[in-house]
Amino acid sequence: MKLPEDVSERAKSVGVEFNPEKRAASFLQIDQNSSVYNWIEGVEVMSIRDAIEKYDWVKDYMWKIVKRDRDEYTKMTAEDFNGYFIRALPDSKIDIPVEACLYLRRVKAQKVYNLVIAEEGSELNIISGCTSHPNSAGMHIGVSEFFVKKGAKLTFTMIHNWQPDIEVRPRSGVVVEEGGVFVSNYVLLSPVKYVESYPVAYLNKNARASFTSLIVAYEGSKIDVGNHVILREKSSADIISRAISKGGTVVSRGRITGEGSGCRGHLECRGLMLKEGTILAIPELEAKHPNVDLSHEAAVGKIAEEEIFYLMARGLSRDEATSAIIRGFLDVEIKGLPEFLKREIEKAVEMVGEDLM
């Protein structure tokens, strides 16, 4: 397939490959128009519009976790949407990732509804990149619902690379059935006007989930993100976030609700102030059962002068030392992230370090 060069450049920055050797399938949506490339068996990828036509049962899943009338944005989306439908068939284990790219080019508001189903015993990795055309302005509303069935494993890595005039309002919900695993990674290291995202995940018996987010807020950016996890019997979850303010505002939320016996949840929220801005960390633990194990740690600060000096005593300049520490701050072991995406993140982080000087 051939993409316009400028679109392809931006798409690459959020991990899109369009390469059958590196991807199981590829879904691209520019504004409201989608195209699909499905390279291997065991996983179904199509537009949600096609899925609704093909399968009667698709409607039974839709709007079950994220309610249609939740707010004005979900209502707006419900009226007219396109998006992806990705489904791993029962017991199929798909190692190489399925990629999905949502590209905002000309429209004022891109409205997306995505449905992901990992059927019983399946394993599926998705890389989702959201980006917008250079100098574009507008709004991206993405409703996503994830169903991880019994014993299935789903990893979902989302990289955002927006423009300073874009508003982003994802609305996501996740249900993980018994013994299922859900791994979510969210990376946002470039300027954006506004992001508001607070996915809710329900974990059933013995299910596990981890949520990792890496956020940099530049001047003029307001990023209000977090996760709410509801833990049922013997389920467990970790929420890890690293937030940097380079003049912008980050609200880093995390809420773990322990409802079932023997559940375990941990929240780790760390913030780094590089410039005058705001970081508001709101870790919340809610216990609704006597036998729960919930904990959190939160810390916000600047780079310690002692650490910079220590690195300088090994020959690094002040700038090199600072950027090494920032790189280290964002170096969370992200599961399921392809090598070159790790490099993309490193590059972005290095630029943060350079911008600082």
């Binding site: 310690a304 220590y310 300088m312 005593a313 020959g315 690094l316 300049s317 090494a324 520490i325 280290g328």
Partner: protein, 254 residues
């Protein structure tokens, strides 16, 4: 010939004067032991020589191989061949030991395979192979911190080394690794040596491994005694610092 010179040095930390008229003259190949009671300014002197921003030089100067380095930044001093092993280095949670060793290699002019090979060799000597991927100093034991500091210096390969209590809090098992590493770093195993050093020790254990040339006693921010390090150690052990200095003054060695 000349390695490090400290000339009439006065240093302040905060608003407090902590060093007064300190003079030191260390030649290539010489190792000095720095003695002194707690709070006498030993670590402050090392900090001032390496250029720690909290230690302000208000008087005098420091030269290295004849060049005035008083106003150079820490990294510039290190690039000229000065190295330091800290007593209590900070934890740097996002930076792994291996990252730090690569920084050291880069400063030493090593790159690529050459650097990796050198790191591997030295890590083996210091028995740190299993700790390379650990965040720097996070959860390191006392002995591990000392070994890590020396490992970094082995890669950095400086010409003038400052070691702040490399033998404190080191158990018997570690002391021979640490002692032998320092002996090698300072070329005390060679006749024709170029490396020079300044070592702070309380216990004196390091003297079992390093046959230092001179001992100096820092007392109340001043150098109060210069002499044979073994004699000084013995005297301090028996009679304490004040008696040692008194004896020193009587013999007019200062």
């Amino acid at each position: 010939m000349e390695s490090l010179r400290v000339i009439n040095l006065g240093v302040e930390a905060g608003r407090k004067r902590i060093l007064e008229n300190v003079n030191l003259y260390i030649k290539n190949g010489q190792t000095f032991i720095l003695f002194g009671p707690n709070g006498s300014g030993k670590s402050s002197l090392l900090s001032a020589i390496i250029g720690h921003p909290n230690y302000r030089i208000v008087k005098g100067r420091i030269t290295f191989r004849g060049e005035d380095i008083t106003n150079l930044s820490t990294d510039e001093r290190v690039k000229r061949g000065i190295g330091i092993a800290f007593q209590n280095p900070p934890r740097v949670s996002g930076v792994k030991l291996i990252d730090m060793l690569r920084f050291c290699a880069k400063t030493a002019g090593l790159s690529g395979e050459e650097a990796e090979k050198r790191i591997e060799e030295c890590a083996k000597i210091m028995e740190m192979e299993d700790m390379l991927d650990r965040p720097l100093n996070e959860g390191f034991s006392g002995g591990e911190v000392k070994r890590s500091e020396l490992l970094q210096l082995m890669i950095l390969n400086p010409d003038f080394l400052m070691l702040d209590e490399p033998d404190s809090g080191v158990d018997l098992e570690n002391i021979s690794i640490v002692g032998n590493a320092i002996k090698k770093l300072l070329e005390r195993d060679k006749k024709d040596r170029k490396k020079s050093g300044l070592i702070i020790t309380h216990t004196g254990h390091i003297l079992d491994y390093v046959d230092a040339d001179y001992g100096v006693v820092l007392f109340d921010g001043r150098i109060s005694c210069i002499g044979d390090p073994y004699e000084i150690l013995e005297h301090v052990r028996r009679y304490g610092y004040e008696a040692c200095i008194k004896k020193c003054l009587e013999e007019r060695r200062c």
